[in-house]
Each structure stands twice: as C-alpha cells, then as structure tokens.
C-alpha cells in the first residue's frame, strides 16, 4: 500500500483540469489524491465494522491534496471550481473511494464554508473558510432537532457582549469530527432563527456519536449545546435562519448525490467483471439475457441519474435554480436516491449469495445510499413540496 501522506502531490503544483470532461477530471483527481483515495478504500472495512469516524489526519491530507478547497473562492485560497466541475470531482471520488463517508465529508465541510464565506464576515472567513481549505477548522451543519422547522426548541439569549445557546441537534454529519458547528437557534428577543458558529471546545458542548446503519465513518453524532456561552461575534446571522438553511440545503441536494452516482457506475463495472467470470451451464452469466437485461436496467438508472445531476449542477452554476427550493435540483436528489438504492438491490439480485455477504461490499453501499432517504430533506417531504408546487402552478389560466 502506498502512503498517501508521502506520495500525494502537492495540489499547488498540479495543473487544474482544463475542461469539465469526466476523463480530465478523473485524471486530475487521481493525480492529486489517488494515493489517499486508495488508502481510504483499504481502510473502509474497519471503519464500517467499528463505526470509527474518518481520521482527522486523512481529512487534513484531503485538504493538502486540494480537495477541501477545490470549490471555495480563489480570493481566500480556494480553487474556485464551478459547481459542475466540483460535482464531477466528487463523482470521481465516489467511484474511486469505497468509503461513502469520505466523499460525504469532503463535500460537506466546503459546503458549510461557502455559507460562511457568503456571510461576508472577514473574521469568520479567516478562521473557518481558510480553516476548511487547510483542513484545520472543519465546520459541520447542525440544524435538525426533534421538531418541525417552526417549533425548534433551541434558544439564544443575550448576556451582555455574549450570547448563551441551548440546543439539542439530533443528527449531525461529521459531528464527531468537526471543530465547530454552524447551528440554528431561536433568538429569544425577536423569536427569529439566528445562525451561530460554535467551537467544539467551548464548555457545554457535548457530542454523542450515533450508531448508524451506514455511512459509519462519517462521524454522525447528536450535538448538544448546554447553556454554551460564546461571544456575540460568533452570531453569523441575527435573523432569517430559516431562509439560510434552505439556501444551504438547496445546492447541497445536488452535491450530495454526486459521489453516489460515481459509486453506481463502479457497482455496474464490478458486477460485469464478476459475472463475466462466473460460468453456469458452460457459459458466463453475462451471456444470459436476463442478466443482460438487469445490467441494462442498472445502466439506464445510471444514465438518468447523470442526466439529472448534470442539469441540476448547470442550473446552480447559471443561477437559474430557485435559491431556496429548486424543483429540478430536488427532483435530481429524489430520483438519484431512489435509483442508487434500486441499483444496489439489482446488484444483489445478480450476485446471488455473494451479494449477501460482507465480502462483497454491495450491502455496504446499500446501507450508505439509504442515508440519502432522510439526508438533505426527506424523500417524502420533497415529494410533498413538489406536489404542492404542482397544485399551485396548475391554477394558472383557470
């Protein structure tokens, strides 16, 4: 095994991909982070078995390779990649790295950093956006509580130059790994949702790891803020947090799906490889029409997923997507989630008893993909929203 820390090229000396073609981008990712992705793949099993979060050293290495800064603005030290290019980088990471948790975290921390950058607050940008690019200050997104968006129980109270935050956030990706949390709390003075950045080391922050079905290296945790006292300067946004959270989640829905699409392609390739070597009744299984048809169904699912994703990423880049809840971006998230789960089940149909063993990782991919069912907006909620939009739009011209 190669040691990624020793062999990965310093990203600053590597030439940026010249175009958005998948081949170019794959070459760039392999060039800057191939050794790291290989190492992450080789250590996946242990993390999955033990539920151990991805090591901070590996994320620092991802930063050094240029992955954490790839999508962040050039003026703060990032590479300023377009959403489309970044999406394709993640697609390749998802295909090349067997640990779905790795791609999830690599996509998450810069997404949070982008929101911090958008705040225009120089102090926060210096600390947390530059900190993301170097891998030294990674911020997770802590929004979900055991409630609907209008009944959040979390509170922010004024205390002179400080504020006091009390909140319980039930599921935070990277919660057990992050250095800080971008969290949403109800300001008791105006009843509106404020956005606050809270460092993990502050007294009163408690992180409780969650034993999850999949994405077991992603450091999923509940995060509790028990009367946490922080300077008011950590309040990033005083009101309008509800819109802020939707502005974070809207592009996130597309970006979240990129790595799973890369993984879908690899599942098909792995199936073909294995089935072409498996001989039954004197011929490889790939010669059987029922096998061919199922592989065709999987390929259809991949092609549809890619088409949806490409358009969603393009719309996000062009600014034509609705900034809070874009119908098309949400459609992509919904369909890709369903397709990825269906595709991993198809692989299990094709692989016979092997597919049911842990020796073949399809069962792990299936568990990982199921995280998309609730992540970044539950499927049923997206479906309900789309239905409501259809009802609203259908009244036109009546």
């Amino acid at each position: 095994m190669m040691n990624g820390a020793m062999t990965a090229r310093d990203s600053t000396t590597t030439v940026e991909p010249l175009d958005d073609s998948r081949e170019r981008i794959a070459r760039w990712v392999t060039d800057v982070a191939g050794a790291l992705l290989e190492r992450m793949s080789e250590t996946t099993l242990a993390r999955d078995r033990d539920g151990t979060p991805i090591d901070r050293g590996d994320l620092r290495e991802a930063a050094r390779c240029g992955l954490l800064g790839a999508s962040l603005p050039v003026e703060v030290g990032g590479r300023g990649m377009s959403t489309r290019r970044w999406g394709r980088v993640l697609e390749h990471v998802g295909g090349a790295c067997e640990d779905g948790s790795f791609a999830l975290l690599v996509s998450l921390f810069p997404a949070v950093a982008r929101m911090i950058h958008a705040s225009g607050r120089a102090d926060l940008v210096d600390r947390y956006v530059r900190g993301c690019i170097t891998g030294e200050a990674l911020v997770s997104f802590a929004y979900t509580e055991d409630s609907d968006p209008f009944s959040l129980a979390s509170t922010l109270e004024s205390a002179g130059d400080d504020v006091i935050v009390t909140a319980s956030k039930t599921m935070v990706t990277g919660g057990a790994i992050a250095d800080a949390y971008m969290t949403y709390v109800v300001d008791q003075t105006n009843g509106d949702l404020a956005v606050v950045i809270i460092d993990r080391g502050v007294p009163g922050v408690e992180v409780v790891p969650i034993d999850t079905m999949g994405l077991r290296g992603a450091g999923l945790a509940s995060v509790h803020f028990r009367g946490v006292r922080i300077p008011r300067s950590q309040v990033m946004l005083e009101h309008g947090g509800l819109d802020h959270v939707q502005m974070f989640l809207n592009p996130r829905r597309a970006i979240l799906c990129c790595a799973p699409v890369g993984r879908m392609e690899r599942i098909i390739e792995d199936c073909v490889r294995r089935l072409s070597r498996t001989v039954r009744y004197g011929q490889p299984l790939t010669a059987m029409q029922v096998v061919q048809a199922r592989l065709g169904k999987m390929k259809l699912a991949l092609n549809v997923a890619r088409t949806l994703l490409d358009r969603a990423l393009l719309e996000l880049d062009e600014g034509s997507a609705h900034p809070l809840f874009d119908e098309y971006v949400s459609t992509a998230k919904f369909q890709i989630t369903e397709a990825a789960i269906a595709l991993s089940l198809d692989a299990m149909y094709l692989l016979g008893s092997h597919g049911y063993t842990r020796a073949v990782p399809v069962e792990r991919y299936l568990r990982d993909f199921c995280g998309l069912l609730a992540g970044a907006g539950a499927q049923d909620v997206i479906q309900t929203n789309l239905g409501m939009m259809a009802i609203g739009g259908a009244k036109k011209g009546r």
């Binding site: 997104f141 929004y143 979900t144 609907d148 968006p149 209008f150 599921m171 300001d187 105006n190 009843g191 509106d192 005083e238 009101h239 309008g240 509800l242 819109d243 959270v245 939707q246 502005m247 989640l249 900034p323 809070l324 809840f325 949400s330 609730a374 992540g375 970044a376 907006g377 539950a378 909620v381 997206i382 309900t384 929203n385 409501m388 939009m389 009802i391 609203g392 739009g393 259908a394 009244k395 036109k396 011209g397 009546r398």
Partner: protein, 88 residues
C-alpha cells in the same frame, strides 16, 4: 381575495386552508391574515418584516415575488402560499 395556505402553514391558522380576505393588494391581504391569526406572523415574516423566502407565493397559479405585493388584485383572485421547506 382568497388566500390558500399550504399544509405547513395551516397549523398556524387553526388548520384552515382557505381564507377569504377583504383586501386590495397581496401585502394588505397578508397583513389582514396575520391580524386574524397572529401565530402566522413569525412563520410568514422574518425579523425585518419581510416575507420569508422559503414561502413561494402564487397569484392565480403564477409565481410572484415581493416586488409585486403592492399591485392591485381583484376580489376573485386567488393567492396561494406554498412553503417549500425540507430539513437537513
């Protein structure tokens, strides 16, 4: 005008979906609605009194933005407020 609330917002208006309001503009209609159901205020408007962007407003099926809230609307017009919110 008739104001129709999507599922999420009905909770703040005694689960009433349709509201017949006597007003000439969308803004006026929203203000009247909040007066009748004060709990809607915080759900609809942010701290600065602006309609939260998470709510999509349709006038007879056409999506309209807040810059058109002061335009005159008729008695038979229908305003639908859809709240496209999804969690983390």
């Amino acid at each position: 005008m008739n104001i129709v609330l999507s599922g999420t917002l009905q909770k703040f208006a005694q689960y009433q979906r349709e509201h017949s309001i006597d007003a000439w503009t969308i803004q006026e209609g929203l203000d009247h609605l909040v007066k009748a159901h004060p709990a809607l205020g915080n759900a609809l408007f942010d701290g600065a009194g602006e309609l939260r962007r998470a709510h999509l407003v349709f006038l007879n099926g056409d999506q309209v933005t807040s810059d058109r809230f002061s335009e005159r609307v008729g008695e038979r017009d229908e305003i639908e407020i859809l709240t496209a919110i999804a969690g983390g």
